[in-house]
């Protein structure tokens, strides 16, 4: 009998798994802790059946074939690359998450990676600063910054913006803000904040005595004063809920892209103390 069972298992293992019917195809750009977290959130947010594919495990054509053959009702793209692949399936609604600069098209919606600017502005308000320096690449963060400008005007904060086109400009551009700002707002712009230039923000902060408000907790250890970070699990949950409503029949056009609804505020008390700033709003 054990021989028979072993043979059965072998056969089952050797046979290609038959495609099971499911509702949501989760396309994950790569194996990444942050993506996994978000996917876990999505599963929490939706009760629909899901199949998860990690792009790095497949050739791209296979993915397209799988999408074509298995007809998922919704695709959740995790990461920018997954979004780019998912967009090729024209007739399937795509929800994105964990994409920094998603290109919004017809039939594509999701949850951005950037918190709403007003959240940052309220932090500045609570710190009592008016002139806030921002460096950005108009090609990447132009839209976000327009929203930010708008919100700032309402919040009574003057955003002193500098544009950079290539990462190496950042240190020089930062220099030009010398003496002109009371705080620095570090936005997740790949051009403005490159690994090599990140340091420059904190050096500036140190020499000018102005706090840096940043977007991830990791920068606090480098000298950031306050970080407003995203909750990847919650973003996943948010997307899961959107998928749920899509499956429930809501047309995708009625679901606009959303900002993360939850922000994680962290402060570096040492830096704040040194800069003599108190009372950060959360």
């Amino acid at each position: 009998m054990p021989v028979l069972r072993a043979a059965l298992i072998a056969v089952l293992l050797l046979l290609p798994l038959p495609a099971l019917a499911y509702d949501i195809l989760v396309l994950q750009s790569l194996h990444e802790k942050g993506y996994d977290e978000a996917v876990r959130g999505a599963r929490r947010g939706s009760n629909a059946t899901m199949r998860t594919l990690v792009l790095s495990d497949y050739v791209e054509t296979d993915i397209t074939r799988i999408i074509r053959e298995e007809h998922p009702r919704v695709i959740i793209a995790v990461g920018e690359r997954a979004l780019a692949v998912a967009e090729k399936a024209r007739n399937v609604p795509v929800l994105y998450m964990m994409a920094l600069n998603p290109r919004i098209r017809q039939g594509v919606t999701g949850v951005a990676m950037l918190l709403d600017p007003s959240r940052y502005l309220s932090v500045f308000n609570s710190m009592g600063v008016q002139k806030v320096g921002v460096i950005y690449d108009p090609n990447r963060s132009g839209a976000y910054l327009r929203r930010a400008q708008f919100a700032a005007r309402r919040a009574g904060i003057e955003l002193i913006t500098r544009e950079v086109r290539v990462p190496k400009e950042t240190p020089a551009v930062l220099e030009s803000l010398r003496g002109k700002v009371e705080a620095l707002w570090m936005i997740p712009d790949v051009t403005a904040v490159s690994p090599a230039s990140t340091e420059a923000y904190f050096l500036f902060s140190q020499s000018q005595g102005v706090p840096v408000v940043t977007f991830a907790e990791v920068y606090l250890s480098m000298g950031g004063a306050v970080s407003l970070g995203i909750d990847r699990y919650d973003i996943g949950k948010q997307v899961g809920e959107m998928a749920e409503s899509l499956l429930a029949g809501t047309p995708i056009d009625e679901l606009p892209p959303q900002s993360p609804r939850k922000a994680l505020t962290r402060t570096n008390d040492g830096v704040l103390r040194r800069l003599k700033i108190s009372g950060t709003g959360g």
Partner: protein, 547 residues
């Protein structure tokens, strides 16, 4: 000369060798220490310089990170210029990761010394994340990315200068140290070997035979103890030597005595032999020759007196009867007593002859060394001549002149006789063809208080060569004619035994004079004997030593 020899002996000395070894060892050690010190220090200087350079380059790399990223050449050249202001830096250059030279600075000094090149990469810190990664919560990788390179050229001539200074300083200190320690060593060695030398000197002194020398070393160290041991040794040696000396003396004395005794015995035997050879045969034959006729003479005498005694009554009767008559031309009355007297004389004289012969026999056999306290030399001469009487050839004229009032001497008559017989025999044998004159003279020399006996011959005389060897035993020119070579040897011995001297004066062809000088007996007899005994001893010694 003396100084140089002293120096050379010092160079060979133990203390100098010790000193040499010590100072050489110290020099070696000092040199080794100095060398190790200099090497370590130079290494240290170099590594310090390298570390300093590395540190500078690292700081520069750190500071240049942002300007390099921003391609801010002005800021980079400012930094490079800042760095190049350091004394040890000659050249600074910063390159991008692609190898593009971004800035370069050179110090103005144009030193062509040794240089060290130092390259430090400029890295962007790995903890810096891209915004996306930060949002995804990716942990910092810690992987540094090289974005450029800082190149420093350092001048090591400073190191060499420092090294030279160090070398000179350590050389000077080392030399100073060496000199000081050497001096100290010298002092210590001098003190240490001082007692050593003292000991050595003592040992040498003792070794050269001065056993009474003592090494005086105070203290209780090994040297002092060995000095004590040597002293003890010397003392025991001294004692031993003294003992040896006395033993030797005793032995010598004993040997001397024994030799004297032995010599006396030998001489006695020799004398005997000589006597026997020269006279013994003669005497015994003579005694025989004499005894036989003498016996018949005595017998005849006896017979005559016996017969006469028987004849006298008859002749008395005849005279009574016939009256007086003559016998041999004398009246019987006279002849009667004369005959018996003559017969008695015959017997008496023959007995006397027998006694003389007996005496001669005793001379040949008996012990002749018996001393007579008052020996008349003339008696000895007469006896000698009577012994020699039958040896006298007819062609030899013997002239004797015996001194009257000769004082007596202490001595053995037989021995003196023997001397005289020897001398007279030699004289007679020296006469060519047994024909010539032999004179015997005795007299008293008052000046020297000696009795002188001279035997003079008109013989062949004595040559110089023979003269030298006269008194050697067994030296003879007459071995073929029965000479023994002992005559003069023994004679001289006997004369010396009597405290006298024997001299021979001769020229070849001029005859020979043999003179015996014998000391006359002193006035006090008993004292004289003591003196004689003493002399005896003394003379024997003299002979012994002369040999």
């Amino acid at each position: 000369m003396k100084k140089s020899s002293r120096i050379s002996s010092y160079l060979k000395s133990f203390s100098f060798r010790l000193y040499l070894i010590f100072s050489a060892t110290i020099a070696l050690l000092t040199a080794a220490f100095a060398l190790v010190y200099v090497i370590t220090e130079s290494h240290g200087y170099r590594t310090t310089l390298e570390r300093e350079g590395k540190l500078m380059a690292t700081i520069l790399a750190q500071n240049a990170r942002l300007p390099l990223f921003a391609e801010n050449r002005d800021a980079l050249s400012l930094m490079a210029a800042d760095t190049v202001r350091h004394s040890s830096v000659i050249e600074v250059s910063i390159k991008s990761a692609e190898g593009q030279l971004l800035t370069e600075a050179r110090s103005r000094k144009e030193k062509v010394g040794e240089t060290i090149d130092m390259e430090v990469p400029i890295t962007s810190p790995g903890q810096m994340l891209s915004p996306e990664a930060a949002l995804l919560g990716r942990p910092p990788s810690g992987e540094n990315r090289v974005i450029g390179q800082v190149h420093l050229r350092l001048d090591t001539s400073g190191v060499r200068d420092q090294l030279n200074n160090l070398l000179i300083a350590s050389l000077a200190i080392g030399t100073l140290f060496w000199i000081m320690v050497s001096l100290l060593c010298y002092q210590i060695l001098k003190r240490a070997t001082g007692s050593f030398k003292l000991l050595l000197a003592g040992i040498e002194e003792i070794g050269s035979g001065h056993l009474s020398t003592r090494v005086d070393l105070p203290g209780d160290d090994e040297l002092a103890r060995s000095a004590n041991a040597i002293n003890a040794m010397a003392a025991s040696l001294e004692l031993r030597e003294l003992e040896n000396l006395s033993l030797q003396e005793e032995l010598l004395k004993a040997m001397k005595l024994e030799v004297q005794e032995e010599k006396k015995r030998v001489m006695a035997r020799l004398i005997q032999t000589n006597k026997m050879t020269s006279l013994g045969l003669l005497l015994s034959s003579m005694a025989h020759e004499i005894n036989n006729p003498n016996a018949s003479i005595r017998f005849s005498g006896h017979m005559i007196s016996k017969i006469w005694a028987d004849v006298v009554p008859l002749l008395d009767r005849v005279r009574e009867e016939e009256g007086d008559f003559y016998l041999g031309g004398v009246p019987f009355k006279t002849a009667r007593t004369a005959l018996s007297e003559n017969a008695a004389k015959i017997v008496e004289n023959s007995e006397r002859i027998a006694r003389v012969v007996q005496g001669l026999r005793e001379y040949g056999v008996g012990d002749g060394s018996r001393l007579r306290p008052n020996l008349n030399v003339n008696d000895a001469v007469t006896a000698a001549l009577s012994v020699l009487a039958c040896q006298m050839k007819q062609n030899i004229q013997l002239k004797t002149s015996l001194g009257t009032d000769l004082p007596v001497i202490v001595g053995s008559q037989q021995q003196i006789e023997q001397v005289l017989i020897n001398l007279i025999m030699n004289a007679m044998q020296a006469l060519p063809n047994a024909c010539g004159e032999v004179g015997v003279v005795t007299r008293f020399d008052q000046k020297s208080n000696e009795v002188v006996v001279e035997v003079q011959d008109s013989g062949i005389g004595i040559g110089a060569e023979t003269m030298e060897r006269l008194f050697e035993p067994f030296f003879s020119t007459k071995l073929d004619r029965g000479g023994s070579g002992l005559g003069l040897y023994i004679s001289q011995f006997i004369v010396a035994e009597h405290g006298g001297r024997l001299l021979l004066v001769s020229e070849p062809g001029q005859g020979t004079l043999a003179r015996v000088l014998l000391p006359a007996k002193a006035a006090d007899a008993s004292l004289g004997e003591v003196v004689a005994a003493k002399d005896h001893q003394h003379v024997a010694d003299a002979i012994h030593e002369a040999r």
